[in-house]
């Protein structure tokens, strides 16, 4: 961890400690049992918001169904106390385990879906559970009153104890979230949110991280639900599996700010008391007006701070205050990415044998065979729709070929997932740049570094080296979304480079660059090759390519038209007819 990150963590921990102290003090001073109840309910919804945020905020997989985990936790605590006399002191941790298992069970099938479909599928789980629990005859459960040993069952006469307990759960949830956010876990989740395909290509085993996230998230929601049962003392299907429960988790997180520890806390601390106060003050004066005021308040905040209060405040402070400082000197472990392999003439690193792919009736790639030698710069050219990018997608595992073999250092990688191929040493960039826009330049690159790094320290060193290599060290702390087109291209190269790949697939890296910028990037690519990396590049800028590559493969209508030295290719009549055009012939005649 860098010095900067460590200072940031210290600041966060201090803030959490201050918040906890203030909340605990406020609770201690409250004498009114109704306020004590509200002080108890707020942290419960904050934990629920954090649970939602852990999955949906960081990974971007929006869940409308967190009530499922919440409800299972609540029902477990209630049923265990009713039937087995199990105290919530044991029941609530068990509720966490049950929530976690439920998360895993739900995640395995549901992560096959994306976007709206995932959200809708998640919606189904609590709805189904609601009916299941009604059908089981659990329309209403009441936690038995313990007159003998109330404290053993969390039935304290002093409600402040409930509030302190809720606060303890909240602090635990905040620390857990902070740990996730600051570790490889969080980086992987955010990368998935920003661009799942790019994350997979950068070597992240997305399904594993997503399952870990939903398990942890389910466990947090289960604990929140278990404690909710203890506070409410009555459990009914609509109260714990209802739409409102899932919505509440989502609303507090969205209101406060998604993808941060503080968002759900800000949301819960603001909205829960606001809605209660409105209800208490206006509920019997103008029935229903509280719902209108509450709704208007939410709409107003969403309009003024679409990403939530936290981010709005942070952006405003960032505009006033100094920019985040650039990172300090390079970590000691950084080396300038020395060539990992020696240039051995004739050593074939990548073999493509007779690979074909059809999309319905369209034969995108037909029987392509080629070989790439270690240290080579191979250029792939061809008209639009020739199948160049499809070929890259076949090579890095985004799509599987209908036939043929792809051998990376002699190992057949057909059928391997993109992250596996990446780990075997193949990095790639994209035709349309796919940075993780909300992440910093540094974090973008560290995602790539985790592929081959054994430790967080090593990943840091590799990321630093890669950034230095492409000249983006100055911009390491900027959000990727702020970069220029050239910088984004360099960022993608750095991300691929950080994983120390043996072979890099560069997809139209020069697209959209000015003449001077093209020269810079070409110089970089050439240096990378000279350091021993093998490079396969798709490019349209012929003038540049001729000076860069050692060999061309020309694709046309999915098939290899010809391959050879640049000098031969540019004079090949078939290539000129299919791709370069008559003007080229006239200009180079």
């Amino acid at each position: 961890m860098s010095v900067d990150a460590r200072a940031g963590l210290r600041r966060q921990l201090t803030l959490i400690a201050l918040f906890a102290a203030a909340y605990a003090l406020l609770t201690a001073l409250s004498t009114h049992s109704y306020y004590q109840l509200i002080l108890t309910v707020v942290p419960i919804w904050a934990v629920m918001g954090l649970a939602w945020n852990l999955l949906s905020g960081y990974s971007g997989f929006v869940s409308f169904g967190h009530a499922a985990f919440f409800g299972l936790g609540a029902y477990f605590v209630a049923l265990a106390q009713i039937h087995w006399g199990l105290s919530p002191w044991i029941g609530i941790p068990c509720a966490g385990i049950i929530g976690g298992i439920a998360g895993l069970v739900v995640g395995i099938p549901t992560f096959r879906l994306r976007g709206h479909y995932f959200a809708l599928a998640m919606l189904a789980y609590p709805l189904a559970l609601l009916y299941v629990f009604e059908w089981l005859g659990y329309q209403e459960l009441a936690l038995p009153m313990q007159r003998e040993a109330p404290a053993a069952f969390m039935q304290f006469a002093d409600h402040r104890l409930h509030a302190w307990l809720a606060l303890a759960l909240l602090i635990a949830a905040m620390l857990l979230t902070l740990w996730v956010e600051r570790s490889r876990f969080g980086v992987a989740l955010v990368a998935i949110r920003e661009d799942e395909a790019a994350a997979e290509a950068a070597g992240i085993r997305t399904i594993a991280w997503k399952l870990k996230a939903i398990t942890l998230s389910g466990a947090m929601a289960g604990v929140a639900g278990g404690f909710y049962a203890v506070v409410l003392l009555v459990v009914t299907p609509p109260a714990v599996f209802g739409m409102l429960v899932s919505a509440q988790a989502l609303i507090v997180a969205m209101f406060g700010g998604v993808g941060t520890v503080w968002g759900p806390v800000i949301g819960a601390v603001t909205l829960v008391p606001l809605s209660e106060v409105l209800h208490a003050q206006l509920g019997d004066v103008i029935p229903g007006i509280q719902g209108v005021v509450y709704g208007v308040a939410i709409v107003a905040v969403i309009l003024l701070a679409p990403e939530g209060v936290f981010w709005k405040v942070r952006d405003m402070r960032a505009r006033r205050g100094p920019r985040i400082p650039a990172p300090a000197a390079a970590p000691a472990a950084a080396n300038a990415n020395p060539p990992k392999t020696l240039l051995l003439d004739g050593d074939v690193i990548l073999t493509v044998e007779n690979v074909s792919k059809a999309f319905g009736g369209l034969q995108a790639v037909r029987s392509v065979s080629l070989e790439v030698k270690r240290g080579d710069i191979l250029g792939i050219i061809g008209p639009n729709g020739a199948g160049k990018t499809t070929l890259f997608n076949l090579l890095n595992g985004f799509i599987s070929p209908d036939q043929g073999r792809v051998l990376l250092e002699g190992k057949d990688v057909v059928g391997c997932a993109p992250y596996e191929i990446c780990r075997l040493g193949m990095g790639r960039t994209f035709q349309v740049v796919r940075p993780f826009r909300r992440m910093s330049v540094h974090d973008n690159v560290i995602v790539g570094a985790y592929v081959s790094a054994a430790s967080a320290g090593q990943a840091e060193a590799q990321a630093h080296a890669a950034l230095a290599r492409v000249g983006l060290l100055e911009d390491a702390c900027r959000p990727a979304g702020e970069l220029s087109n050239k910088q984004l291209r360099l960022l993608e190269i750095a991300r691929a480079l950080a994983g120390e790949p043996k072979i890099m697939l560069l997809d139209e890296t020069l697209a959209g660059l000015g003449a001077g910028e093209v020269e810079e990037v070409i110089a970089l690519v050439r240096q990378l090759a000279e350091e021993g990396r093998t490079i396969v590049i798709i490019e349209h800028t012929m003038q540049a390519m001729v000076r860069l590559v050692q060999r061309f493969v020309v694709l046309n209508e999915g098939a290899v038209l010809t391959q050879g030295q640049p000098a031969d290719i540019t004079r090949n009549d078939a290539v000129i007819d299919a791709y370069l055009g008559r003007k080229w012939r006239a200009a180079n005649a």
């Binding site: 306020y35 038995p144 409102l244 509920g283 019997d284 229903g288």
Partner: protein
Amino acid sequence: MSSSVFRTVNWMRLAIALALGLAGAARAKDIEVGLIAPMSGPYARQGQVMKMAADMAIDTINRQGGIKSIGGAKLKLSVFDAGDSVERAKNAAQRMVADAPNLVVATGAYLSSFTLAVTEVTERAALPVLTFSYSDLITSRGFKHVFQTSATGVQQAEGSLPALMEMAEKASGKRPKTIGIVMDNTAASVSFVKPMREQQLTKLGLKLVVDETFTPPLANATPLIQKVRSAKPDLLILLPTVIADAKLLLEKMNEFGLGRGKLPTIANGAAILDPDLRNNMNIDQLEGVMAVVANWTTNAQKDFVAEVKQKTKEPWPTQHFVTTYGDVLIFAAALEAAGKAERGVVANALHRMNLSGGAANFFPGNGKLRFEENGRRADASLLIVQWQKGVPITVYPAKDALAPPVWPKQ
């Protein structure tokens, strides 16, 4: 304090109270009673009805001189909005016990789940609460401050069919032999027919000739009603939960010539008797439809219906109106007996209560009002109400009935 001093102080108090009373300048402190019910959200209409009833009852009691044993103290209503969820109901209850320390007794909270949560709070605050919610769980938790005035859910499910059979036999001179059930698959309907399917049908010698369950919303009632028509049961149990489904089913029954009491049709609960139905469907089609309910207006209440219509502009008092009105009368009787506006004393008075007339006239049973040890009203029984000429009228049992049932002579 020795007893003589105590007595002297009491005498002095009485003297002061009398003096103040005679002077008319001041009166005994108001006694705060509570209503905790949904005043907002989807159940707000029921909460409003309950508030109307409580206001009317309090007005009547206060005009009659308040609580005489407490120096003619007047009742004062405090309303707490139980909202639309269990969490809100619990919060409202906590607010009620924290903000209103002088509250002596309360009634509420409409839905069973709300009442369960509310009474968890009130029990701990030793605040006596009367409720009309059905759940058996409410009075099986060993609580000492909860009083349930309705027949419980289980009592209702078990008592409905025998009551119907008895009424059918008296009305038509013949015991029904066949029965049909058309129901949706919601929890309320399923639990209502459970005891029937499990034991009562065989015990009562009834043959189930139509048995149809649908998932709301119902798209087309024709196939269901066709089956009913061809099977010709003597009695039809019709259990839709959603108004739109009820409407479809009843329209189809009328179309097939089974409406208007030609096929005796019984629904569950008071939803089918609500005045709001007049806004949602053609009221003629409800003619003859019956419901088994835990409370309604009866002939014991004399001019009550006319008074309600005049004072509230409501077309008729519903079961929650009758019950909440009755609850306030129970409050008054308990306070009168307690002689003190204190929670514990009032709770004891409720436990010891044994009334005939007055509040007892507002709850179906044997004419007496008494609570069992666990807080359930002793001998709580059911009423059968039938739509007659656009108004739901109590038709069973005969002692409470305002009109005889319309039943086809077979």
